[in-house]
């Protein structure tokens, strides 16, 4: 006789063990370790919610305080490796195997631990990819999540940083898993229900509010003339050229410069309403001047940003907000939106090779991927046309009946030819390959593959890779914008001039841009305080960005 309810029975046993720590669903912070030791079994797949921003830090501290004799060999399946505790548990023997997406803040340590064999690595994913596997072969047994508040029935209010929570809960709660939420407060009535209570088994009132990192705040004071020049080229040579309305931006200073040039430079070019109207984007403070100037129709967000809550509440026509007035973000939906409904992704990178593969990996850090590879890839499942998509598809060539040709998503790499300390961004061979060898990875961690990249923008010019017809042309197009790096100086000058004549390489002067006009006075805001003034005082930057 088959037992079709083994998982369900196991879940009930876990809940039964855990109930002694709880008053109904509510667990005091002091009993977190007891709770986790009661729920967890060796070898469990566990999602310890570590998002891009929001961190279930109280539960993370609890997990790392568990007795490794009772809780061990866990398989962690979570998007972010952000807090020290996320790695401590591997050193302690509590966790053993890891599948994840992003490890920016812990990039150095995770590389050392991978190298030292302390972590058994499944794979480094993109966000959507990991979320997808939650529903196929990496379904969590236990989810440890974070929210702002909950009622005694477990109805959960995530606040503006909803992020990954609905996806994690969906996969866990509906497949016999146990969901534990930490909240900043237990309340009689939550402002809105982001996660219905019947999906949440236990609620822990955390000892302190969960930690959120202001990841998307770029101080306009640090935007350089070179970044402004590149932003001018991107606006004139790509946004205007292709009429890009639907887009996603990376988080670097280059894209911040574009955002800050919309109400000034782009406005003077007469582009308002013709570009940059619909966004998949975190609420970047540097977009405030463009929003206030009427450029932006709407923005869907992966997560929120520290200090933007009041501003977002006051702009419901632009942002997705709940009945309570605050932002509703959702990483999985926004990633999907960025993948399928945006015509352009533009972001920075650290290294580009001669084919156009790009990577943010250095030999000593494993930063993971996050969402950029989803944004920065051409979705083969796309079927709806747009002028931008069709034009790019046309440039990419192809034969046969035009009605059978695909369009192309524009994937733009914005990169200064030299980084800090005169480190060249263009290389013959990616450091990612060294890292893969060193860590014995099957796949080198490539952020954007060469066949997805359509344009490279440097201070020397724009290379349109869609128009390249041979691998050699492609290499010379890349060398032709690689400036004075070894790669750039290794160019075939005659070939580069031929590519320029064909519009494959475009210099600032070809675009009617005088590099000497690239001046900080073009920025709609030159400081964080300017952003506050643009927002009418609604934007409240965190202390590290204030001098007042």
């Amino acid at each position: 006789m088959m037992d079709w309810r083994q998982e369900r029975t196991a879940r009930e046993a876990r809940l039964e063990r855990a109930r002694r720590c709880a008053d109904g669903k509510v667990v005091p912070a002091a009993r977190v370790v007891d709770l986790l030791e009661a729920i967890l079994q060796p070898g469990d797949r566990v999602c310890l919610e570590g998002d891009n921003q929001k961190q279930a830090d109280c539960l993370a501290r609890g997990l790392s305080a568990c007795d490794p004799a009772r809780v061990h060999d866990l398989h962690m399946v979570q998007s972010g490796i952000v807090l020290p505790e996320h790695l401590d548990i591997f050193e302690q023997g509590i966790a053993k195997r890891l599948d994840y997406s992003y490890s920016g803040p812990q990039g150095g340590r995770i590389a050392r631990m991978l190298y030292g064999g302390q972590i058994e690595l499944g794979a480094v994913h993109t966000y959507l990819e990991l979320f997808a596997r939650y529903f196929i072969d990496l379904t969590p047994n236990v989810a440890l999540i974070a929210g702002v508040s909950a009622d005694r029935d477990g109805n959960l209010y995530t606040g503006p940083n909803t992020e990954d929570t609905p996806t994690v809960v969906e996969a866990t709660a509906f497949k016999n898993g146990v969901v534990v939420a930490q909240v900043n407060a237990i309340v009689d009535r939550v402002p809105r229900v982001d996660i219905p209570g019947d999906r949440v088994d236990f609620v822990v009132e955390a000892d302190k509010p969960f930690y959120v990192e202001p990841l998307f705040t770029r101080d306009p004071g640090a935007v350089t003339e070179t970044q402004i020049l590149m932003a001018m080229m991107a606006i004139k040579g790509i946004y205007a050229e292709y009429g890009i309305r639907r887009l996603n931006h990376g988080i670097g200073f280059g894209t911040a410069a574009i955002e800050l040039l919309l109400p000034t430079y782009a406005e003077r070019l007469g582009l308002k309403g013709r570009i940059a109207t619909h966004w998949a984007l975190n609420p970047h403070p540097s977009l405030i001047p463009a929003i206030e100037s009427g450029w932006v129709k709407q923005i869907h967000c992966f997560g929120s940003e520290v200090g933007m809550d009041k501003y977002i509440r006051a702009r419901p026509d632009v942002f997705f907000t709940g009945s309570d007035g605050s932002l509703r973000s959702n990483r999985a939906f926004c990633q999907t939106a960025g993948l399928y409904a945006c015509d352009l992704f533009i972001g920075s990178t650290l290294q580009i090779d001669l084919q156009g593969h790009s990577s943010t990996v250095t030999t000593n850090r494993v930063a993971g991927f996050g969402g950029a590879p989803n944004m920065g890839s051409d979705p083969h499942g796309r079927r709806h046309p747009s002028d931008t998509w069709m034009k790019a598809g046309q440039e990419a060539g192809g034969t046969g009946d035009p009605a059978l040709r695909r369009g192309r998503k524009l994937v733009v790499q914005l990169v200064e030819t030299f980084g800090d300390k005169l480190v060249p961004a263009f290389v013959e061979r990616l450091d990612a390959l060294e890292l893969a060898k060193k860590l014995d990875l099957e796949l080198a961690p490539v952020m954007v593959y060469a066949d997805d990249v359509t344009h490279i923008v440097t201070e020397e010019g724009i290379a349109n890779l869609l128009l390249c017809r041979t691998l050699d042309e492609r290499e010379q197009a890349i060398r032709g914008v690689a400036g004075y790096t070894d790669v750039g100086r290794g160019r075939d000058h005659a070939e580069v001039e031929r590519l320029r004549a064909r519009g494959i390489i475009r210099r600032p002067e070809d675009l009617g841009i005088e590099p000497l006009d690239a001046d900080r006075s073009l920025l709609a805001a030159r400081s964080i305080k300017d952003l506050v003034h643009w927002s009418g005082g609604l934007y409240e930057p965190p202390a590290k960005f204030r001098n007042w």
Partner: protein
């Protein structure tokens, strides 16, 4: 510290009559460029004091491109460099040439 000197021939003098100009600031990642109109119209000399050793080839390429593009005949260009990236150097040289061309 390293001192580099380059001598180039140009096909024409840089337009304008200003005797000298200065642009930029000596700081980390930045440089100052002093331009003086004191050579025969078909010559351009460039002298660089740089804080970072070992980039002579890059400097040679940057200076050669600038001379080819702007034809700064008649100029002595003296640079104090605080470790600027090549694109910053190009930008300052272009800024300097434009200042010298102002009426």
């Amino acid at each position: 510290m390293e001192t580099l000197r380059f001598r180039h021939a140009t096909t024409r003098p840089l337009p304008g009559t200003r005797p000298s100009a200065i642009t930029g600031v000596v700081a980390s990642g930045n440089l100052e460029v002093l331009l003086e109109r004191n050579l025969p119209p078909d010559a351009c000399h460039v002298e660089i004091d740089t804080a970072i050793n070992g980039y002579a080839e890059v400097w040679a390429a940057v200076v050669a491109d600038f001379v080819a593009r702007r034809q700064p005949g008649g100029l002595t260009i003296t640079i104090n460099d605080g470790g600027a990236r090549p694109d910053t150097v190009s930008l300052r040289l272009a800024q300097g040439a434009r200042l010298m061309e102002l009426p």
